[in-house]
C-alpha cells in the first residue's frame, strides 16, 4: 500500500482537509462548474449514475441535464462534440469511462483536436480525463497507461498526477487552460491515498515537476502510482545510507526539463520509474535529454524500472510480475548507487 503523500514541498496549506484522490477530482470539477458556466461534463454514465467510479456523483443534481451529459458509447463523438463546443467558448470536460477507451477516439484527438491551433489558429480548451493504470486486476483492457501515444502528439498537454493536492490543482488548471489537456487519473490511487487539500481555490501549474524528496546520491524520476513506489523505495534506501532525490513529473507534456536537469546535475545518477511499458516510455525521452544536456554530469547509466513490453495481464501473479514496484525500484537504485 502506498503511503499518503498529499502535501509536497510546494504543497497544500495547513488549513485544508484530508481527502481521497477521487474526492479531490470530484471537488475540482464541482468547483470549476460552479465558477464558470462554460464548463460542462460529458461522458458515459457520468450523470444519473455519477460515473463508473463515482467521480461525478452529485454534479447532475447541482448543474442539470444541459451541463452533465450522459452520452452514447461513442468516444469519437464525445471528443468530437467537445471540440465543437470548445470552438464556441465552452470548456468541456470529457470522461473516458476507462482511459483504455481513449484510443477509440485516437484520430479525433490526434488529428482534429491537437492540430487545430497550429493549423488554423483554433484553440480547443477541453479536458479529456479518465481512470488509468493497473494494479487493480482490471485486465488488459481496463489497466492501460496510454499516455505516451499522446506525449508524442504536439498540441495536447498530458498530466498524470500522484497526489490529491496535485490532482485537484492540476485539473482546475487544465479546465482553465486554452489547450486540449489529457488528464490521467491512476485508479489505484482513487481510494487508497488521502492527502490534504486547501479549503480555498488554487491551481497547480501545468508543466512543472516537483521534488518530492531531497537527496544527493541519485535521482529517481517517476509519476502517478509509481511515485508512491519510488518514495517507498527511497525510504528503504535511506536506511542503507543512500539518499535518493525523488522527482514527481506531474506533467508529461510539456516536460519540465529544468527540474530534471537540476537534480541530475546534483546527484549525477538517474533512475526513471514508470508503470507504462518499457519501449517508447518517458524514460527513453528523459535519457535522450540527459545525454544531450547533461552527458558530462552522468556517473552511471540511465536505469529504467518499468512494466514489461506486454499487454497488462489479468491474473494477480502475472500482473504483479508485469508491474514495477518498490522492491524493484529499490534493487535497481541500489545497483545504480554503486557506480
Amino acid at each position: 500500500m502506498p503511503k499518503a503523500n498529499g502535501a509536497g514541498p510546494n504543497g497544500s496549506a495547513s488549513d485544508g482537509t484530508q481527502v481521497t484522490f477521487l474526492e479531490a477530482i470530484k471537488q475540482a470539477m464541482f468547483e470549476e462548474m460552479e465558477r464558470d458556466p462554460a464548463v460542462i461534463l460529458m461522458g458515459e454514465d457520468v450523470g444519473v449514475y455519477g460515473g463508473a467510479f463515482k467521480t461525478s456523483e452529485g454534479l447532475l443534481e447541482r448543474f442539470g441535464w444541459e451541463r452533465v451529459i450522459d452520452t452514447p458509447i461513442s468516444e469519437s463523438a464525445i471528443i468530437g462534440a467537445a471540440c465543437g463546443m470548445s470552438y464556441c467558448g465552452l470548456r468541456p470536460i470529457c470522461e473516458m469511462q476507462f482511459i483504455d477507451f481513449i484510443v477509440c477516439a485516437f484520430n479525433q484527438i490526434t488529428n482534429f483536436v491537437a492540430k487545430g491551433h497550429y493549423l488554423w489558429n483554433a484553440p480547443a480548451p477541453m479536458v479529456i480525463r479518465g481512470p488509468s493504470g493497473g494494479g487493480v486486476h482490471g485486465g488488459p483492457f481496463h489497466s492501460a497507461n496510454p499516455e505516451m501515444y499522446f506525449v508524442h502528439t504536439p498540441g495536447v498537454k498530458v498530466i498524470y498526477p500522484s497526489t490529491p493536492y496535485d490532482a485537484k490543482g492540476l485539473l482546475k488548471a487544465a479546465v482553465r487552460d486554452n489547450n486540449p489537456v489529457l488528464f490521467f487519473e491512476h485508479k489505484f490511487l482513487y481510494r487508497r491515498i488521502k492527502g490534504e487539500v486547501p479549503a480555498g481555490d488554487y491551481t497547480v501549474p501545468i508543466g512543472k515537476a516537483v521534488v518530492r524528496r531531497e537527496g544527493k546520491h541519485l535521482t529517481i524520476i517517476s509519476y502517478a502510482a509509481m511515485m508512491h513506489a519510488s518514495l517507498e523505495a527511497a525510504e528503504a534506501l535511506a536506511k542503507e545510507g543512500i539518499e535518493a532525490e525523488v522527482i514527481d513529473l506531474r506533467t508529461l507534456l510539456p516536460l519540465d526539463e529544468e527540474t530534471i536537469l537540476n537534480s541530475v546535475k546534483k546527484t549525477n545518477k538517474c533512475l526513471v520509474v514508470h508503470e507504462d511499458t518499457r519501449t517508447g516510455g518517458i524514460a527513453g525521452e528523459i535519457a535522450a535529454i540527459l545525454f544531450e544536456k547533461a552527458f558530462h554530469d552522468l556517473d552511471g547509466p540511465l536505469v529504467r524500472v518499468t512494466s514489461l513490453d506486454t499487454p497488462v495481464p489479468y491474473a494477480p501473479t502475472l500482473e504483479e510480475h508485469f508491474l514495477p514496484n518498490a522492491k524493484k525500484v529499490f534493487s535497481a537504485a541500489k545497483e545504480l548507487a554503486r557506480y
Partner: protein, 427 residues
C-alpha cells in the same frame, strides 16, 4: 438519351435569391477553373480537388444558412465557403501555401476556418470527423441560447466511416440543430458507391438514427436550396438533426492527378449533359430572370474580381521557415481570449435553477402495448396488443430529458423522394 431535370425547377424564390444562386455557382466554377490553370502552372503546392458538376449542392445548401450559423466544408465545398463570405484570394492562397492564406501556409485546400466572424470550422482529411464536431457546435449554440444551425457535408464514401455513425447517432440522441448533407457523387476515389454502401438511397441511413431525411436532385440548385432551407428551419425549430442526400456525380477524378478512367463513358456523358449551371441558365432564361446581357454582366464581374484576387494571391510570399515552429499551443489570453457568447440568462444553467433530481424518468413505459409491432417503447410493460401509435402521447412528457427522447423518436419517419414533394411528406 433523355436529359433531365425530371422535375422542372419550381419558381418559388425571390428574384434576388435566384440571381444570388446563379452568381455563386458561376463564382464557384470560375474559382476552380482558375485553380486548374494555377495547378498547370505549378503554382499549387499540393493536390487540387474539383467540385465540377456539384456546385449546386455546395451553393444551394450553404445559401440556406444565416450569418450566425456555422458550417464546415469538405474538399468539394468551395461553393459553400464563397456563399459564407470567404474571399477567393483566401482559397487561392491556401492552395498556393502562401503566407497571407488563412493558415499561413500550414495547411492547404479548404482546410481553414474562422471561429469569430464567418463561423467556419476547418475540416481534416479524415472523413466523418466533422460530424461530431458540428454536433458539438450545435449543442453549444443551443446551450448558449444562440439559436444557430450547423451544417457539414459528407460523401457517399465518407458515410461508411465509424465516426459518421457515432456522430450522427449522438446528434440524434441530443436532437442537435444540425443538418448533414450527404453528397452522393457515385464515386469514392475509384470505388463506385455500390461497393461502398449497399443502399439505393443513402438517405436511408437516417432511419438508423430515427431522424428525418430528404433526397434531392443535386444538380437542381433551386431544389437543393428549397430542401436545405426547410431542413435548416426545422433544425432551428428544434426538430433535431436532418440528413439530406443530394444525388449528383463527380465529373473529375478524385483530384487533378486522377484521370478517372474507371468511370464508364456513358455515365459521364449522362451527367455532363445535365450540368447544374447549364440547367439553371436554361431555367433562368425561361423565367426571364437572365438574358444575354445580365449573364455577361455576371461573367465580367467575376472575371474582374478573380483577376484581382489572383494577383493578390500570387504576390503573397511563402511563409518564413521559422513559422513552422510556432503556434502549436495557445499561450493564453494574449493569444486567444476565449469567451462564450451568452444569449440566454446564465442563471438558467447555474444553481439553483440548474439543479435537478438525478433520476431517469421513463414515460413511455407501458404505452408500447406488447410486442405486436416495432413501436413498443422501452420494452412493453403491457401485455395487450394495441393499434395505438406511440410517440405523440409520450413526447416531451419530461421536458426533453433523455428518456423522453427515446420514446418520442419512435414515430415513423418518411424519406422524401423529391424536392417538389418534400412539403407534403413532412411528418
Amino acid at each position: 438519351m433523355p436529359v433531365p431535370p425530371e422535375q422542372g425547377m419550381k419558381k418559388e424564390l425571390k428574384r434576388q435569391q435566384y440571381l444570388d444562386l446563379y452568381y455563386y455557382m458561376r463564382l464557384n466554377r470560375a474559382v476552380e477553373d482558375m485553380m486548374v490553370k494555377l495547378f498547370r502552372q505549378n503554382k499549387i503546392v499540393g493536390g487540387l480537388y474539383s467540385s465540377l458538376g456539384q456546385e449546386a449542392i455546395s451553393v444551394g445548401t450553404a445559401y440556406a444558412l444565416e450569418k450566425k450559423d456555422w458550417l464546415a466544408p469538405m474538399i468539394r465545398n468551395i461553393g459553400a465557403l464563397l456563399v459564407k463570405g470567404v474571399r477567393p484570394r483566401d482559397i487561392f492562397m491556401q492552395h498556393m501555401a502562401k503566407y497571407d492564406s488563412p493558415t499561413k501556409g500550414k495547411d492547404g485546400t479548404s482546410h481553414f476556418g474562422d471561429l469569430d466572424d464567418l463561423h467556419i470550422v476547418s475540416p481534416i482529411s479524415m472523413l466523418g470527423d466533422l460530424i461530431p464536431v458540428m454536433t458539438g457546435v450545435a449543442m453549444a449554440g443551443r446551450y448558449l441560447g444562440q439559436k444557430i444551425v450547423t451544417m457539414t457535408w459528407i460523401g457517399d464514401g465518407g458515410s461508411s466511416t465509424g465516426v459518421f455513425h457515432e456522430g450522427l447517432n449522438f446528434a440524434a440522441t441530443q436532437k442537435a440543430p444540425f443538418v448533414l448533407i450527404l453528397e452522393n457523387n457515385l464515386w469514392a476515389y475509384s470505388t463506385p458507391v455500390r461497393k461502398q454502401v449497399p443502399l439505393e438511397n443513402l438517405a436511408d441511413r437516417a432511419k438508423a438514427y430515427g431522424i428525418d431525411s430528404y433526397i434531392v436532385d443535386g444538380n437542381d440548385v433551386v431544389a437543393v436550396y428549397s430542401v436545405a432551407k426547410e431542413a435548416v428551419d426545422r433544425a432551428r425549430a428544434g426538430e433535431g438533426p436532418i440528413l439530406i442526400e443530394a444525388k449528383s456525380f463527380r465529373r473529375m477524378g478524385h483530384a487533378q492527378h486522377d484521370p478517372a478512367e474507371y468511370v464508364p463513358k456513358e455515365m459521364r456523358a449522362y451527367w455532363e449533359a445535365r450540368d447544374p449551371i447549364a440547367l439553371y441558365e436554361r431555367f433562368l432564361s425561361s423565367e426571364k430572370l437572365l438574358d444575354a446581357k445580365s449573364k455577361k454582366e455576371v461573367e465580367e464581374k467575376i472575371d474582374s474580381l478573380l483577376a484581382a484576387e489572383r494577383e493578390f494571391a500570387e504576390n503573397s510570399p511563402m511563409p518564413p521557415p521559422e513559422l513552422a515552429e510556432t503556434g502549436v499551443y495557445c499561450t493564453g489570453d494574449d493569444c486567444h481570449k476565449i469567451r462564450a457568447k451568452w444569449e440566454r440568462p446564465i442563471a438558467e444553467v447555474t444553481p439553483p435553477r440548474s439543479s435537478v433530481k438525478a433520476v431517469w424518468t421513463v414515460p413511455g413505459f407501458g404505452s408500447g402495448k406488447a410486442s405486436d409491432g416495432a413501436n413498443a417503447p422501452i420494452h412493453f410493460g403491457d401485455t395487450h396488443a394495441s393499434q395505438h401509435r406511440v410517440g405523440n402521447d409520450t413526447k416531451s412528457a419530461n421536458g426533453g430529458k433523455p428518456a423522453a427522447k427515446m420514446a418520442a423518436k419512435a414515430a415513423p419517419k418518411k424519406t422524401v423522394k423529391t424536392a417538389g414533394a418534400s412539403r407534403k411528406a413532412r411528418r
